[in-house]
Amino acid sequence: MATKVLERKPLTWAEKTYLPQIVHGLKITWKAMFKKPITLQYPEEKPELPMGYRGIPTLVKDPNGREKCVSCQLCEFICPPKAIRITPGEIPADASTAHVEKAPKAFEINMLRCIYCGLCQEVCPEEAIFLQNAFSLSGYSRQELVFQKDKLYELGGTLPDTHHKWDKKKAAAAHPHHH
């Protein structure tokens, strides 16, 4: 890209006094005074969140009410501020979701550490953790802001599932094409 050298004209006498510029500036701010404020009255009015907004990380269930997390701990691994802590556990053989085998015994997200980067959502192979739209967060103690599994599921709710990976697995196990 060619560099274009702009010629700097010498200042006129009026410009040197600086006063016309001040007057001009005053004009601009004067006009600005009568423009409509863009302030949002926050607690009463809520901003419209754009698509892909990264709010509080939450755990979600599939439409059958099965917890999608299988405690693979990839989110715990990827989490830059180490906010996630998972204790894996085994699903008992007599449970209806026994074919999934593994589920978190405990799932903690320390919201005091979370930086809302969304890497956990990106890395999750089971599409179980989502940064949804909740963004306003407060508490009276540090302990209260370490979100436990039940709280995370409460925040997350149920999201539609397009893959039905584990349902297919269960169906295949029920009707295996044996030799």
């Binding site: 001040i22 500036g25 005053l26 004067w30 600005a32 423009k35 404020p37």
Partner: protein, 360 residues
Amino acid sequence: MEVILLKALYALLMIGAVMGLAAYSVLGERKISAWIQGRIGPNRTSFPLIAKIPLIGPALRYLGIWQPLADGLKFLFKEDPIPGHVKGIYYMMAPVLVLVPALSTMVVVPFGEYFDSAGKAYPLILADIDLGLWFIFSLASLGVYGIVLAGWAANSKYPFIGGIRSCAQLISYELVMGLSVLPIIVWVNAPGVSAGLSLVSIVNTQGGAWFIMTQPLSALLFLIALFAETNRLPFDMPESETELVGGFHTEYGSFKFGFFFLAEYAHMVIGSAIFSLLFLGGWHFLPWIASPWPASIFGTICSVLWFLGKIVFLMFFFIWIRWTLPRFRYDQVMQLAWGKLLPIALINLVFYTILVAFIS
């Protein structure tokens, strides 16, 4: 006895007016800056019972009318930490030293006129002394001591730099200020007239043309010097929060900081008052137009309100300028004072002296 009581009442009224103006100019500052920046400004404070009144309650709330009250209470009840490294007694003295001269100058400032039964007008003033203007300058220059002391007593680098800056800046601009007022004094005390330095006589001289018309350059110089003297942007070198944290008041908190805050706005109020007395005809209605109000108590109130209106306009101008211009660099501030304003002021003085001599 009656006179003393009257004076005391007047003094209280004045303190109330100046302090009230100062407090509400803070609100004005916040509101005007908000408007200029496309915001709304303080609109959350409300007063328990008044908030319930339909229309008026919410309107007052929206205007932030109670904000100064809340701010004052906040300053009062905040914890007042004193850093361990400060120089105790001076640290305590500095805020007082800043506020006292600011408030004392109002002794010689006339706020309007009242009329006796014969319809003769007298100025509303605490002490109409001959040396009114001189008194103001001498007191105002005391204000710098408070700032320098604050900077020094805080015993840390940013306040110290702020203190030094304000010291140099105030001295420089005081010179300009004094020189810009001299032509008016020369004018007022033209050969054969002996009006002295009294502000009342200066105001009375402006029954016809205001000095801003006859001496526009003096007015401009005075205005610039006034900005510098009150530490307002674009001359807020001692504070300049982007460079010096908070400048001279970095180490102050709570009500001591409130003192500085109040003093700055009190300075502005007094400064505006003086400017309108010197150049805007004081309580005179409009140039060459006699005051339309009757020579009665109602007229007195009108004159005071008219004068206050001029002050409020100037305050607005102060604030407007602040949110329009960026801050000067420090060397530019000094260069402006000594390199530009001082010679111009001198030429201006010589010019008007000769002019006055010619006319008379």
